[in-house]
């Protein structure tokens, strides 16, 4: 019966996981030996031709890391990670580099084309400049010249170390010190590349800046570092996307993002995280252990985090704001989705130091399959933070009865004038809702997509337009096969 077969095919297709970015690029890669010790760190530093002070920073971090243990407080089941079994540096070897340094290897170009990230400026989404990072190195940054005319620096981290060492030295590790936590120490020891961005005083960056992270090589970890500095009266909107090939082994991604906003500056940081989540049986997937933090140093400054987290086998991530300047504002908007065997423990920290500081937290968790989704957030109002205000809302949506949603809010208030509000809801997609949609001609998959996107709409609307559309599709694809 051909019809039946077709139907079976559709079901298979829908339940097969649908990770579109799971391909591997067969490109020659320069790798260093597996393992982690001081020689490896020196080797990374030599590969990158780094100044002595940076090697010192790495070694200090490494020595500190040796004294730490992996954090176990998150609501996650993390398998043992053998840190000696990871390759800490892998760089795709670009063929055409010597003849014309601006040209990128056609094989790399093809890879990013397939990911929907064209690296030729004329083809690029209008108004978005991109830094493309594969494994341990940045392969191309677009629109550098256009931005340079305004004094905006947007380049790979390695280039920043070479070209703007004073800026890097001044700010590196000031928001996330290497002593911050286990993964931050590890990253500080072995970080290989990432993006650097500096917006000078009074400049409103005219285009979205974006970094696209791609893990390609097997057995490697990715440890990138992003540093964004918004000087007085400046504005920038920054986007981050990430994908990885389908592999049976887990791969480690431990990044650091530091943001500094000076007086009256505003930084909007958006993430669409779509690392390979593992298969429907929980095999493979990225371990995503990331430390992201921004500091509102100046008065009236603002940092806003928006994240749509659909990928990774395990996510451990708390983009935070230190509200030091008076009247500064911190925002955290999050949608985190866990399907199959994915686990996420994510949230934020809002540290109110300055007077009249405000923060808003809106977190929306979606759990399906056997996914486990935890919100963990800290709102801390320090002694001198007069009239500080926080509003938090954590919503959880459950699909099915084998998944879990958890909320761990921590509130510490040391100032009596502060106002802190916290709301939380848990809801379930009901059979009745799905049937109601079915009865109007909408298929079950589309109904789930409609309901989930309705639920997440508030957050998705915070993303820049093109990415909002992407994020919506991503939510729907990530849930395919979750309703039986």
């Amino acid at each position: 019966m051909p019809e039946k077969k077709e139907k079976d095919n559709i079901i298979n297709e829908v339940t097969a996981g649908q990770y579109k970015y799971g391909f591997y690029t067969n490109i020659e890669s320069e790798k260093i030996p597996k393992g982690l010790n001081e020689d490896i760190i020196k080797l990374i530093s030599v590969k990158k031709n780094e100044p002595g002070w940076l090697l010192e920073f790495r070694l200090k971090s490494y020595r500190h890391w040796l004294t730490l243990e992996m954090p176990r407080w998150a609501n996650l089941v993390i398998p043992e990670i053998d840190y000696q079994d990871i390759i800490y540096y892998a760089a795709p070897v670009q063929k055409s580099k010597k003849d014309s340094p601006d040209e990128i290897d056609p094989e790399l170009k093809k890879t990013f084309d397939r990911l929907g990230i064209p690296l030729e400026e004329q083809k690029i989404l209008s108004g978005v400049a991109i830094d493309a990072v594969m494994d341990s190195v940045s392969v191309k940054t677009t629109f550098k010249e256009t931005l340079a005319e305004l004094g905006v620096i947007f380049c790979s981290f390695s280039e920043a170390v070479r070209e703007y060492p004073d800026l890097v030295k001044k700010y590196l590790g000031t928001v996330v010190p290497y002593t911050d936590n286990f993964f931050a120490a590890l990253n500080s020891a072995v970080f290989s590349d990432g993006s650097f961005c500096y917006i000078p005083r009074g400049v409103k960056c005219p285009m979205e800046l974006s970094t696209y992270f791609r893990i390609n090589s097997a057995n490697t970890g990715q440890f990138e570092r992003t540093l964004i500095i918004a000087d007085e009266d400046s504005y920038v909107s920054y986007l981050e996307g990430c994908t990885a090939p389908i592999r049976d082994e887990n791969q480690l991604h431990a990044a650091i993002v530091e943001i500094i906003a000076e007086k009256n500056a505003e930084v909007k940081y958006s993430t669409v995280q779509n690392w390979y989540p593992g298969d429907h049986e929980g095999k493979g997937g990225i371990f995503n252990f990331v430390t992201k933090r921004g500091i509102c140093r100046g008065e009236n400054s603002k940092i806003s985090w928006t994240q749509v987290e659909t990928g990774s086998a395990i996510t451990w991530k708390y983009p935070s704001c230190i509200l030091k300047g008076d009247n500064s504002t911190g925002e955290f908007y999050s949608v985190a989705l866990t399907n199959h065997f994915q686990q996420a423990d994510t949230g934020t920290k809002m540290i109110h130091i300055g007077k009249n500081t405000r923060s808003t937290i809106i977190s929306k968790g979606i759990s399906a399959g056997r996914g486990q989704n935890s919100y963990r957030g800290l709102v801390k109002i320090l002694k001198n933070a007069n009239d500080a205000r926080n509003y938090s809302r954590c919503d959880s949506l459950l699909l099915g009865d084998k998944c879990g949603a958890h909320t761990f809010p921590y509130i510490e208030v040391e100032n009596k004038t502060a106002i802190v509000e916290h709301e939380a809801t848990t809801s379930k997609i009901g059979e009745d809702q799905i049937f109601y949609c079915n009865q109007r001609g909408i298929s079950t998959e589309d109904a789930v997509g409609l309901i989930v996107n309705g639920y997440a709409r508030e957050i998705i609307n915070k993303l820049p337009m093109e990415f909002a559309v992407e994020a919506q599709k991503l939510l729907q694809i990530s849930l395919e096969g979750s309703i039986g």
């Binding site: 009901g430 949609c437 009865q439 109007r440 001609g441 589309d446 309901i451």
Partner: protein, 252 residues
């Protein structure tokens, strides 16, 4: 259009429908009346394809197709519309977005291009005017925070948008005041055409003052025990369901 033959169905092993036969032709309005628990809503659920109702015997043919083999969304796309007794709330999904998705699914099924946002809004305005529903619910979430009357009127608006071949209205009159009832009835009458059909499921005769049925069936204990013209509804209203019970016992 719809032929039901000796339909038996159960919920969680308990038989609710015990051999129903019924034929609805194009252009007809049928009323199905009966006391609580007689199986009225179960019949609507079977026709719409709810999975918790198990059909154990009999057949349902809709426009020469075996209805029982079709998925709920296929049935909807093929023109079956169920007006819900309890319309379901969907937070975060606007009425406009929901209806646009539904209308475009149906168009896709018919091989038509999807409607653009502006064409859709125009269509919605026309339909609202046609059924006399002046609703300001377009930007609100589906059924969320709607009053009972708003929910039922909203069902009729959806019916107008989807132009079903067979509309099944499951106790659409329950919980309505007389003004809302008139609006709902007006909409249904407006939408009734020679090439479509309506099944009105109701406990009371009241709605049938405004929607005049061609045929009235009385459902009792999972069986259709009486079938007649519209005067049966009046008689039922006068004598009550107790009369049906006594008549049934007489026959036993």
């Amino acid at each position: 259009m719809l032929i039901i033959k000796n339909l038996r169905a159960s919920i969680e092993g308990k038989e609710i429908l015990r051999g129903i036969s019924l034929e609805v032709r194009e252009g007809e309005i049928h009323a199905i009346m009966g006391p609580n628990g007689s199986g009225k809503s179960t019949l609507a659920s079977v026709l719409a394809g709810r999975s918790y109702v198990r059909v154990t015997e009999g057949s349902v043919t809709y426009c020469s197709r075996n209805l029982l083999e079709m998925t709920p969304e296929e049935r909807a796309r093929e023109g079956i519309f169920l007006g819900f007794q309890y319309p379901v709330e969907i937070p975060g999904v606007s009425m406009t977005n929901f209806l646009k998705t539904a209308v475009n699914e149906q168009r896709k099924h018919k091989g038509m291009e999807p409607l653009s946002a502006s064409d859709f809004l125009k269509l919605m305005r026309e339909k609202k005017e046609m059924v006399g529903i002046d609703s300001k619910l377009d930007n609100r979430s589906v059924n969320e925070g709607f009053s009972g009357g708003e929910k039922k009127k909203n069902e009729i608006l959806q019916m107008a948008m989807l132009e079903p071949r067979l509309a099944i209205l499951d106790e659409t009159d329950s919980g309505l005041d007389i003004d809302a009832l008139k609006i709902v009835a007006y909409g249904v009458n407006k939408l009734h055409k020679p090439d479509n059909a309506v099944i009105v499921i109701t406990h009371y005769q009241r709605l049938l003052d405004y929607i005049i049925p061609d045929v009235v069936h009385v459902l009792y204990d999972g069986k259709i025990v009486m079938t007649s013209g519209k005067e049966l509804a009046m008689e039922l209203e006068k004598k009550g369901y107790e009369w049906v019970r006594r008549e049934m016992e007489k026959n036993d």
